[in-house]
């Protein structure tokens, strides 16, 4: 079967899986950013045990292959009495991994701010929380658009981990198995998925560049 034939026969299910991939990517990226901000706040807090906890968190989830994490979630958590759906396991794993990389990006953004601005903020009487909210988060968000764009693309590709567990609807990579178990599409099914990933990535990259040009901080 050629790509066009696969598309003709499975086009609508492909569309569904593409949407599923997009949705998971969005959820994982948003969740990852939120958790990443939280971890980063811990890592820069004035309280040492919190800083250590933040560092451990990031080292842990940055250095475990996502697939191992998924195996742990799917097979080990039930022993601890925690039964999560496959989709929840997948989302949780990807969010944890993404958040650790997001935190690393934020840290480099924070290092670019410089101690001087923080001291200036303290000397007009801003509190720790205000400094985080008004100076640190806005500046590090705006200086990390490009690395975050890369992270968004990496998130998109990592959702392919969903092919390792049964999902309905499947995401783009799981879709390949689905198609190949119902026809002899072979490599064509992969090509169609690859086109979807690549197309999405190109658009993300383009928008990321545009956004960066707009919000980048001149120093």
């Amino acid at each position: 079967m050629g790509v066009s034939e696969v598309f003709a026969e499975f086009g609508d299910v492909y569309l569904q899986s593409l949407l599923s991939t997009w949705l998971m990517t969005a959820v994982c990226f948003a969740g990852g950013l939120a958790l990443g901000i939280l971890a980063t706040v811990l890592r820069v807090s004035p309280i040492k045990p919190l800083r250590v906890a933040g560092d451990i968190y990031v080292q842990l989830f940055r250095n475990i292959p996502t697939v191992s994490l998924l195996v742990i979630f799917v097979y080990a958590l039930p022993y601890l009495g925690l039964m999560l759906s496959y989709r929840t396991c997948l989302l949780a794993c990807v969010i944890l991994v993404v958040s650790s990389f997001a935190s690393e990006n934020f840290m480099s953004g924070i290092n670019a701010i410089g101690a001087g601005q923080i001291e200036a903020a303290r000397s007009i009487g801003l509190s720790f929380v205000q400094i985080i909210r008004l100076i640190v988060i806005p500046q590090s968000l705006r200086t990390t658009v490009l690395p975050m764009t890369n992270l968004l693309i990496a998130t998109l590709l990592t959702t392919a981990m969903g092919s390792q567990v049964p999902l309905t609807p499947p995401e783009l990579t799981g879709m390949v198995n689905y198609v190949n178990s119902r026809s002899v599409a072979g490599i064509s099914a992969f090509v169609l998925s690859a086109i979807c990933y690549a197309g999405t990535s190109v658009v993300i990259g383009f928008l990321g560049n545009k956004l960066d040009e707009k919000v980048r901080i001149v120093r």
Binding site: I113, G114, G116, Q117, E119, A120, A121, R122, S123, I124, G125, L126, S127, Q130, L134, I135, P138, Q139, R142, I217, V218, R219
Partner: protein
């Protein structure tokens, strides 16, 4: 002068501080009266910046005490932030908020710390920017301004908090020579209006024109202090004589 006799607004008593093994402040005793302008001078590494920074607790101290308006500096938290809001600080490297416009740099404190309505804060910020001569730049970001302009904005940002005293740590030493005076002029005007100021600077003309007292530091100690004319014309200690020779040489 009458200001010498009134209650000090800043009072440092037997202040000691170390950075690791390094003894950077040694038994510092210094009173600054309301409305007084004190210039801190001394060789590099003598502890001028550190002294200045202990006054609003950007640096903590090991022993001794620092009083602001007769009360010990709060250790941390809300009280410390509230005290810092009353003491302006101007840094050598300006330290404007890079992601904010000039106007927003000036209104951030009043709006976020003093909870002033934004409109009102903006109106006052524009007046302040006008006073320091950068009102036309209000909607630019810091990187678009010259060093002298940025430093004047930094002064306006401090003034917007209606500080009771201001600390300046070498406010002109990162500036090109032609911009030094535009910043000093603003400081002279402030002094003329009765602002209490502690200024780390090597600008002798400024010290002579506006300061009430020059405090000379070396090796973490206050070695001598006097009126500017007395100090510059008749330094008593060898350290001060050597130091003045070295800066006059330039």
């Amino acid at each position: 002068m009458s200001i010498q006799t009134s209650m000090p607004i800043i009072s440092m008593r037997h202040v000691d501080k170390h950075f690791g093994q390094l003894h950077v402040l040694r038994d510092i005793n210094l009173d600054v009266a309301k409305g007084e302008v004190v210039v801190l001078i001394g060789p590099s590494g003598s502890g001028k910046s550190t002294l200045c920074r202990t006054i609003n607790r950007l640096e903590t101290i090991d022993s001794g005490e620092i009083l602001f308006e007769g009360k010990p500096l709060p250790q941390e938290g809300k009280e410390l932030a509230a005290m810092r809001a009353e003491i302006g600080m101007v840094f050598q490297s300006f330290n404007l908020f890079a992601h904010k416009t000039i106007l927003d740099n000036v209104t951030m404190g009043p709006v976020e710390v003093l909870h002033r309505p934004r409109k009102e804060a903006e109106a006052e910020a524009m007046e302040l920017l006008d006073r320091v001569g950068v009102a036309a730049q209000a909607h630019k970001v810091p990187a678009q301004l010259s060093g002298g302009q940025q430093q004047r904005v930094a002064i306006a940002r401090s003034l917007a908090m209606h500080p009771k005293a201001m600390l300046f740590d070498e406010p002109t030493s990162a500036l090109d020579p032609e911009m030094i005076n535009e910043v000093l002029d603003v400081m002279v005007e402030l002094a003329g209006m009765g602002m209490t100021m502690v200024v780390v600077t090597h600008e002798m003309n400024f010290a002579r024109r506006v300061s009430n007292r020059v405090v000379f530091m070396a090796d973490g100690q206050i070695v001598e202090q006097n009126t500017p004319d007395e100090f510059f014309d008749h330094p008593k200690s060898e350290r001060a004589k050597d130091f003045l020779d070295s800066i006059k040489g330039h």
